[in-house]
């Protein structure tokens, strides 16, 4: 896909260069007519020198501005959401519609195994639309217009959110952001044209040619935007069908999505986005953000017909007045139908079933995670949205159950931790310690949006604090390691700006890292030494090309800190390799077909690090 994108982009730049060249030649032609109308020399339209200079300048402009745009975008989805006029949802005090949106998003995140994204609302937009953005599944943001929140029912909203999650899980967002960067470069031309036009029309000396040149640039910029739009539709339209199909697959409820699309069709404001930035971002949205000849999304009717063959092709008119008044009860009318029919089903866990679940969500996952969220003590759930409390609760998760050890942990952080954080840790400790094991990793997922709002010194303090707590007893359990790895991986991207570039490791380094990870998994997944050996060999076989043959590391040689570093290094590798490595990990853990909770959590932490969205795969996850 990226190759196609680059080709199209190159073509667009070429078209623009030629247009600029002719614009300049035209100006020269006019001025030659003007200065010596009776000149006998015919005007030369072909001038290599000028062509060279124009193409260099145009390339320079487009590339520099694309690069600066891409750099700005590297800050991730929040930047885009803020640019579009998005407001970060206030988790502490949401309105009923916002609360519903938050619930739907949280369920979907836990179900698909990505951390809860930051949630934005585009308050000024009345049309029904939504988008997701971010470099990796775990640094995504999701935004919806206020029209979307007000007009859609819960099922329809769930359909829209599932559609956006499909973009998140399929890795479309990275492409979308890159596309936006490229388009930004093309867009700059028309901006410059606008500035030149304004500058020269204001100047006292009537610089006709300047004005003309500005006008030309503006026109060329528009041509560029046209090219850009063509690129946008070429890249985006197919993806939309895929996302629609996935949305239905995730929710097993075609009515939700088709209902949302029908409402867009019948609504006066449709899915339009008013913000001027929509030009650059329209390909990211749920439905067409601009009315134009080159639509970024397939026609609504076609999309609906693919989901719902009974669709007659007529939209029912709706307006803001038709909205049923909002009650909290609507939120509870959640897809319970799907839930009951699948509750009894328990599949055996095989490596294949786990691997095929990566990047998908099943309705069972969704209802399971919705139940899971209901089990969470209300006070914890509410307070997870406050940054301070989220940090404190996460710290509490690694507190030991025995009072003596806990006392030692607390006394270790007594001096270093900020006063407020320490006080909140002490306050929450009692409740959090009693939380069941199965709810503990979901708590980490839920805490992440709030943790993303820490300032960077606060984040450093928090990490130092949780590290001290973990290391207090000189032993690191699998759970502690998983919590630490997930938080660090997830938030370092936000605060340290790392983990966004693909880095290729050299051979020996890669082999050593893989050896370390697989050895640990083999030990943790199997109890007796013979099975451990076999599991290790089995998974080594699947990676034979990369790691070759090496004996399993002895258990004493595995230390958690080097393991963490190894995971981070592989995390920055290319996705294909990560998938293969993860496959080997899964085979290793599931070799004996018995999965303990510790193993499941470790495997999820690995998947997390590799940015592979792994839904909670244990059917018995709900039993303790």
């Amino acid at each position: 896909m990226t190759v196609l994108l680059v080709c199209l982009f190159a073509a667009a730049v070429a078209v623009i260069t030629i247009a600029v060249y002719f614009a300049i030649m035209f100006i020269l032609f006019c001025s030659s007519l003007y200065s010596m109308p009776s000149s006998s020399k015919p005007f030369v339209w072909w001038d290599q020198k000028i062509l060279l200079y124009t193409s260099i300048t145009t390339l320079f402009v487009v590339i520099i501005s694309s690069a600066s745009k891409i750099k700005a975008l590297s800050r991730g989805g929040s930047y885009i959401a803020q640019m579009m006029g998005g407001r970060l949802i206030n988790f502490n005090n949401p309105s009923p519609e916002e609360k519903r949106f938050i619930n739907v998003v949280e369920e979907m995140s836990i179900a698909s195994g990505v951390s809860v994204p930051l949630i934005y609302v585009l308050d000024k937009e009345q049309g029904i639309n939504a988008f997701a953005a971010g470099y990796t599944p775990n640094s995504a943001i999701i935004a919806a217009t206020s029209g979307c929140l007000k007009l859609l029912s819960r099922d329809e909203l769930q359909g829209v959110v599932a559609h956006e999650y499909s973009h998140i899980l399929n890795g479309d967002m990275r492409l979308n952001i890159r596309l936006m960067g490229f388009l930004g470069g093309i867009h700059t031309l028309s901006t410059i044209g606008y500035f030149v036009l304004r500058g020269s029309s204001r100047g006292r000396r009537g610089s006709f040619s300047g004005m003309f040149f500005g006008l030309m640039l503006l026109t060329i910029g528009s041509i560029g935007m046209l090219c850009a739009r063509i690129i946008q539709c070429a890249v985006s339209r197919q993806r939309e069908f895929l996302a629609d199909a996935s949305s239905v697959q995730f929710t097993r409820n075609p009515d939700g999505l088709s209902g949302a699309l029908q409402k867009i069709g019948g609504y006066v404001k449709s899915s339009k986005i008013m913000s001027p930035e929509a030009k650059e971002t329209c390909h990211m949205f749920f439905s067409n953000a601009l009315t134009s000849f080159f639509a970024t999304h397939p026609p609504l009717k076609e999309r609906i017909r693919l989901i719902d063959p009974n669709f007659r092709g007529r939209f029912k008119k709706i307006s803001m007045k038709d909205i049923p008044s909002f009650t909290a009860a609507t939120d509870l009318s959640n897809a319970t139908a799907a839930q009951s029919s699948f509750a009894g089903e328990q599949e055996a866990v095989t490596p294949e079933s786990v691997l095929s679940s990566v990047g998908t969500v099943s309705p069972e996952n969704v209802s399971q995670s919705s139940d899971l969220l209901k089990e969470l003590p209300a006070s914890i759930k509410r307070e997870l949205s406050v940054p301070l409390d989220a940090a404190a609760i996460t710290c509490c998760l690694v507190l030991d159950k025995s009072p003596e050890k806990r006392g030692k942990q607390i006394s270790n952080i007594n001096k270093s931790a900020p006063k407020a954080l320490l006080a909140e840790i002490l306050r929450h400790a009692k409740t959090v310690i009693q939380v069941e094991q199965k709810l503990r990793l979901p708590i980490v997922d839920l805490a992440i949006p709030a943790l993303r709002q820490l300032s960077s010194p606060q984040y450093d303090n928090f990490i130092a604090c949780i590290k001290t707590l973990i290391e207090a007893d000189n032993k690191i359990s699998l759970f502690e390691f998983s919590v630490y790895t997930i938080i660090k991986h997830r938030l370092d991207m936000e605060f340290k700006n790392i983990g966004k570039k693909t880095v290729h490791l050299n051979g020996p380094q890669l082999q050593a890292d893989l050896l370390l990870i697989l050895s640990l998994l083999a030990y943790s997944g199997n109890t007796d030494s013979e099975k451990t050996q076999k599991a290790f060999e089995a998974c080594q076989d699947s990676l034979i090309n990369i790691m070759g043959k090496a004996p399993i590391l002895p258990l004493e040689k595995i230390c958690f800190s080097s393991l963490g570093k190894a995971l981070e290094r592989i995390a920055s590798e290319e996705p294909k390799l990560k998938k293969m490595a993860f496959e080997a990990c899964t085979r290793c853990v599931l070799f004996d077909k018995i999965v303990s909770k510790g193993e499941a959590e470790l495997l999820r932490a690995v998947a997390y690090c590799f940015d592979l969205p792994l839904p909670p795969f244990l059917p018995q996850h709900s039993k303790d």
Partner: protein, 195 residues
């Protein structure tokens, strides 16, 4: 030839200006967003205080003045916070908020100190709960304020750096004001009084 080079330079300058401008906007949004975290917790605090006073009233009939002073301070802090949330980072409104908050914390401290003389009030379940909530809200406020101040510092530094300072002057990016801590050493003790 020279014209093209000059044009190229102009264009490069425009691109740099635009990207710096966008950076500044992002930093500004960030600290404004950080302020909303404080705002939420301040509101929560202002909502808790009338309940607290109401509960205390039943036991502390002789301390009417203190109770009224708390309510008054709460009301003026509420209006100061409203002003501040309209324009977070503005020097006057930040100073106003810091002053009003200091007054409120002081009068609350006095209330808690006086309540030492009323064992029944100390034993009141409602009062215990309220004071615990109040102290955790204060913790949150101090934490959110730290985050806000960090964001403001980043923004201010970005404003002052060269060549950003030229652009911040041109587009009127004003220096933002930190929200100073309202806790003086003796006030720091106030919320710790345990019931």
């Amino acid at each position: 030839m020279a014209g093209i080079i000059i044009l190229g330079l102009i264009i490069a300058a425009i691109i740099i200006i635009v990207s710096i401008y966008n950076n500044m906007v992002t930093f500004r949004n960030r600290y404004k967003n950080a302020y909303s975290q404080i705002d939420v917790q301040l509101k929560r605090r202002y909502n808790l205080i009338p309940n607290l006073v109401e509960t205390a009233k039943g036991y502390m009939q002789h301390e009417k003045e203190t109770l009224e002073a708390v309510i008054k301070a709460r009301n003026s802090a509420l209006s100061a916070s409203k002003k501040a949330s309209e324009n977070p980072g503005d020097a006057a409104s930040m100073a106003g908020l810091a002053g009003a908050e200091a007054l409120l914390t002081g009068s609350l401290g006095k209330l808690f100190a006086l309540s030492e003389n009323y064992p029944d009030l100390k034993a009141n379940q409602n009062m215990m709960q309220l004071s615990e909530e109040l102290s955790s809200t204060e913790n949150r406020i101090s934490f959110a304020r730290q985050a806000f101040n960090d964001a403001v510092t980043i923004y201010n530094t970005a404003c002052e750096k060269f060549p950003n300072n030229m652009i911040s002057n041109m587009f009127n990016f004003k220096q933002a004001q930190l929200l100073e801590s309202t806790e003086s050493p003796e006030e720091r003790k106030a919320p710790k009084v345990s019931f």
